[in-house]
């Protein structure tokens, strides 16, 4: 197990709480009708997100997936602008035109989610290729779900990234289910890292709820890519708390295990207390502070204006405007 400073450990713990509280606030506001559209939350997958975020530089690229709201602000965008985007407001990072599934921020090289699963896996090739041709040492991380493994673009991407030795970090977040379908039932194997191995790409399966293990694996992958050795594939084994629109569909024992026993924030907190890095009181204090900050972001989003109606027809084309009614 790798050694990290107490300071970094506490920071990562704090970041996990940001992700958790952000998503919980979103769920609450969604139920109240304040967040339009659909909502996919990343509750339960915080350690994976934080491990990835802390392994990337601001100049590195990111393609977040639909459960990566946390990564959007962990990449460097002010949290209130992400919250406002999810509320569809003018102050959102894409002026309310992208929403939960399409929040990009060019200033931190967040290339935005593409809500068609797997689609941006091939877009990421281009970012990697462009940077490779420009002589940059930046890499691009792509967040994938386990369900993405069924897409054709997945295989086109892995093949070409390996063939051209592109600086792409594939972060496969295996939370067990594509909506309701268990991963092992719909794929040749439930161990998705094996697909990458077939493309001669270094690949590893890691406990995505063990913050330090996930961080260590990601660090190793980043080092490999940064050295110009080509792409790397990590399968983070985790579990999403969010069930289906009609409720919980998984076995009681399974739910208990992931929510109570193998729960990433609890595991990290206990580890820090045991190592003397933090006290229970300190952790509680951090949690309260995070909660307050998230509520400030919610207030900002709520109080922000709707987008200017003119925005509806801007930025369709570059160089000419679309007719308005």
């Amino acid at each position: 197990m790798m050694d990290i400073s107490s300071e970094l450990y506490l920071k990562m713990y704090c970041d996990m709480l940001h992700v958790r509280k952000f998503e919980q606030a979103l769920e609450r506001e969604f139920k109240l009708g304040n967040v339009p559209g659909m909502l996919h939350t990343g509750i339960g997958q915080e350690a994976t997100m934080v491990a990835v975020a802390h392994s990337l530089r601001t100049t590195d690229g990111l393609f977040p997936d639909h459960r990566s709201h946390g990564l959007l602000f962990l990449k460097g965008t002010p949290g209130e602008r992400i919250m406002a985007e999810l509320f569809g407001k003018a102050t959102g990072v894409c002026s309310g035109k992208g929403g939960s599934l399409h929040s990009a921020d060019k200033s931190v090289n967040n290339f935005g989610d593409n809500a068609v699963e797997g689609s941006f896996m091939v877009t990421a090739l281009g970012v990697g290729l462009g940077w490779q041709m420009q002589g940059s040492d930046a890499l691009v991380a792509v967040m994938l779900g386990d369900g993405t493994a069924g897409e054709g673009a997945w295989h086109e991407s892995l093949n070409l990234a390996a063939a051209w030795k592109l600086p792409v970090l594939y972060c496969c977040v295996n939370n067990g289910y594509a909506i309701s379908t268990p991963v092992g039932k719909s794929h040749a194997t439930g161990d998705l890292y094996k697909f990458a191995a077939a493309y001669d790409m270094p690949s590893v399966q890691v406990d995505g709820n063990d913050l330090l293990a996930a961080y260590e694996a990601t660090q190793k992958a980043v080092e490999h890519i940064r050295a110009g050795k080509g792409p790397y594939f990590i399968e983070y084994m985790t579990w999403r708390w969010q069930g289906l629109f009609m409720g919980e569909f998984r076995e009681k024992e399974e739910v208990r295990y992931w929510k109570e026993e193998h729960e990433p924030i609890k595991l990290a907190g206990e580890d820090m207390v045991q190592k003397g890095i933090a006290t229970i009181e300190l952790l509680k204090k951090i949690e309260n502070e995070v909660q307050e900050e998230i509520e400030r972001w919610v207030t900002f989003a709520k109080q922000s204006p709707d987008p200017d109606p003119l925005k509806a027809t801007t930025n369709v084309y570059i160089g000419w405007e679309v007719e308005t009614r």
């Binding site: 290339f111 068609v116 877009t123 281009g126 290729l129 070409l160 801007t314 084309y317 570059i318």
Partner: protein, 326 residues
């Protein structure tokens, strides 16, 4: 001026743009060492190397994805999809990604890609190597579709497309690849979104594109023998198409025939006809007439294909009808 084929004119444009801007690179299946299925990129591999003339696997989604991603970080990719029919494979990349990147992130990113592709029928290519596919993209805001019909326009439009900041589908008709024409030396731009009046006339406007522009010109020649003066408009940019030039012409001739190699249902010909009917109804002496492919896939047999695709005689008949019924 020098006489060259459309293939040579396109090659000339690519060569010029690659020499001028190192951000310009090409990617596609067999476009490098082999020089492309139709020879459009011949010689460029030797000149610019494998980095900038990238042979890809048979991965159309990855070709377009890589083009878009690299464009998002400042490159100017020219992708080739060998046959336009194969765009079914990368349709998602074009429609959901290339065309939306600029809008959905509210202008932060752009996707200045050019996707060259060989389109069209008439040679017995069968159901998967013969289609006109602009109709697949007519309903996609953000997408630009360009289709030259002469070597001169092919060069000028390709240069304009590479310099443009929007995602562009650049359709090259296979029947026109070897057709020769005068092409100016050096760099020049043929403006996008601007139609070309291929022949002036006063009795009827024939709106067409690519191969059908040639058929329309031949038809106009025949119609002249019957004292029907046809004006032929070559759209050149199919989306967004040049409404001003078409409407000005229709207001002058007061009759319109819209010709398309695609099926009529929901296609470019439907849109052009609708706009003429909406905007110039009061000027029309007769209802707009369309000449399109039949509503079928393209069959292999050349005899059958001929039945499906519009011919000169169909265009002539349509022009005669709108002329006589007014």
């Amino acid at each position: 001026m020098s006489k060259m084929s459309m293939v040579q004119a396109l090659n000339n444009a690519l060569d010029m743009m690659m020499a001028e801007n190192e951000k310009v690179y090409c990617l596609g299946e067999d476009i490098g060492w082999m020089g492309g299925d139709f020879g459009v990129t011949r010689g460029l591999y030797d000149k610019y190397g494998s980095e900038r003339m990238r042979d890809t696997p048979l991965s159309e989604s990855a070709i377009i994805g890589a083009a878009v991603g690299s464009a998002m970080v400042g490159m100017r990719p020219v992708a080739e999809i060998m046959f336009a029919d194969f765009m079914g494979v990368c349709y998602d990349q074009l429609v959901n990604n290339a065309a939306k990147v600029h809008y959905m992130f509210d202008g932060q990113y752009k996707a200045p890609i050019v996707v060259r592709s060989a389109c069209g029928g008439g040679f017995g290519g069968g159901p998967h190597h013969s289609q006109m596919i602009e109709g697949w993209f007519m309903n996609v805001p953000g997408m630009v579709i360009v289709a030259p019909s002469t070597p001169e326009d092919a060069k000028g439009l390709l240069i304009a497309s590479i310099e443009d900041d929007n995602p562009i589908l650049f359709l090259e008709h296979k029947a026109l690849y070897s057709k020769k024409g005068e092409v100016p030396e050096g760099k020049y731009i043929t403006p996008l979104r601007k139609a070309r009046i291929a022949r002036e006339g006063s009795d009827v406007t024939i709106v067409a594109d690519t191969w059908m522009a040639h058929k329309s010109l031949a038809a106009a020649q025949m119609l002249a023998g019957e004292d029907i003066s046809a004006e032929v408009i070559d759209l050149r940019t199919l989306r967004p198409w040049d409404q001003e030039t078409v409407l000005d012409s229709v207001r002058k001739t007061r009759r319109a025939v819209v010709v398309s190699e695609s099926p009529g249902t929901g296609g470019l010909s439907a849109d052009v006809s609708a706009v003429i009917a909406e905007q110039a109804f009061g000027d029309l002496k007769a209802a707009v007439k369309r000449v399109t492919a039949l509503d079928t896939p393209i069959p292999f047999s050349v005899k059958l294909e001929k039945i499906i695709l519009p011919g000169e005689e169909d265009i002539i008949r349509a022009a005669q009808q709108v002329y006589k019924h007014s």
